[in-house]
Symmetry: C2
Subunit: 199 residues, 2 copies
DNA sequence: GACTTAATTGAGCGATCATTCAAGAAAGGG
DNA sequence: CCCTTTCTTGAATGATCGCTCAATTAAGTC
């Protein structure tokens, strides 16, 4: 067993994620990545193949992370609706995060690369579909728990919810006060988890 | 009075808008613009100063256009709420547009350039604020027309509505069927203009 | 039909882009 | 301590980036 790699892959991916999330795909140069990863071009290419390859791994890492966070808040809670509410509350202070990291990286990627890198855009889309499915599962669980009317449409609710979160996170990107973001979050939480929805 | 310009400014801006909207700012090269505008680099720089200058003019043109469309649908209608409803219905077939033009160019710009070109991003933000104001005016008009409760919060409603439209347009970017986009639009229209909101 | 004046041209600028690869460095096995 | 194997290095690649400017073209004036 000869010389092992000096860098830690997950750390490199995490640092690359920060740069790509902030600057986007096209505006991130390899020089930016060399600096952020403390790696020379040769090492980056040996490890990840190309800029697109690294981005792809970052995207997958970001999506896994997002899905895990979602799952933790949503499914580990005895009440599905309460879990959803807690997830939404975790978005309430978006207005205080770094501006460039308020919007979902999957959304930013889907938008930025729709024309120029359709494959990467489609991958982001696929991860968003996975998140929609998770929302759908939550609403189905809520129906079984009688927290939602029997005739509710979990798929449609999931899409409504996802669109609402898209909108919230885009709105949080605007230069408004964090309070406005908080109010908007509250309204969305009430809309999707209000108690009087129970049959 | 010597030689007049051969190109028509508004046409050039319209063509540049198409390219920038599709590809984004960073992925659009001057070569792309030369092709789209049928102009040589010298002419482009004489007319617009720089790539950023041209983009800025495109953004302003796009915003004026959006505001005009909004104003026409919203304010020219005797009933404010009915006008809003018609505006929302004009978004119902987003799912059938060119993928890259489903999302609002102001939103795409704000996201893509937040870090790398903060001035252009801030300009997009300012135009979005103008649109929010227009929504706010509509809700105030609706209150005066008794189409909305007296104690409604027009500013908050405007922000909710804008966020909902953000979300809808992002969702329409996903590879779902146009029908799903239509259903989502319908739901938003009902949420913001339902008759039983009348005091 | 010169003359004036501005618009257009396109070769070319230095900088930077993503990427490659031969050479050197480092760690484990013998 | 040498050998093997892999990782790391960084100079160099050709392409493309946004942009400039001297030369050319063309329209209106007299």
């Amino acid at each position: 067993m000869p010389r092992p790699a000096k860098f830690i892959r997950t750390e490199a991916v995490a640092r690359a994620q920060e740069v790509f999330w902030q600057r986007g795909y096209h505006a991130t140069s390899l020089k930016d990545l060399e600096t952020a990863l403390s790696m020379r071009p040769g090492s980056i290419y040996a490890a990840f193949g190309s800029k697109a390859g690294l981005f792809d791994e970052v995207l997958s890492h970001y999506a896994e992370q997002s899905l895990a966070m979602l799952r933790q808040k949503l499914l580990n809670h005895p009440s599905a609706m309460q879990g959803l509410r807690e997830y939404l509350y975790s978005l309430a202070n978006l207005g205080e995060r770094e501006p460039a990291e308020r919007a979902c990286m999957l959304v930013k990627t889907m938008l930025e690369l729709a024309t120029t890198e359709p494959q990467l855009s489609a991958r982001a889309d696929a991860y968003l579909a996975a998140m929609e499915n998770l929302f759908c599962e939550v609403f189905m669980a809520a129906m079984q728990q009688n927290e939602l009317e029997k005739d509710a449409d979990p798929r449609f609710l999931a899409q409504q919810l996802q669109a609402a979160i898209f909108g919230l996170r885009i709105f949080s990107q605007r230069q408004t006060s964090p309070l406005r973001v908080r109010l908007l979050t509250e309204q969305i939480a009430n809309q999707f988890t209000r108690v009087d929805k129970i049959a």
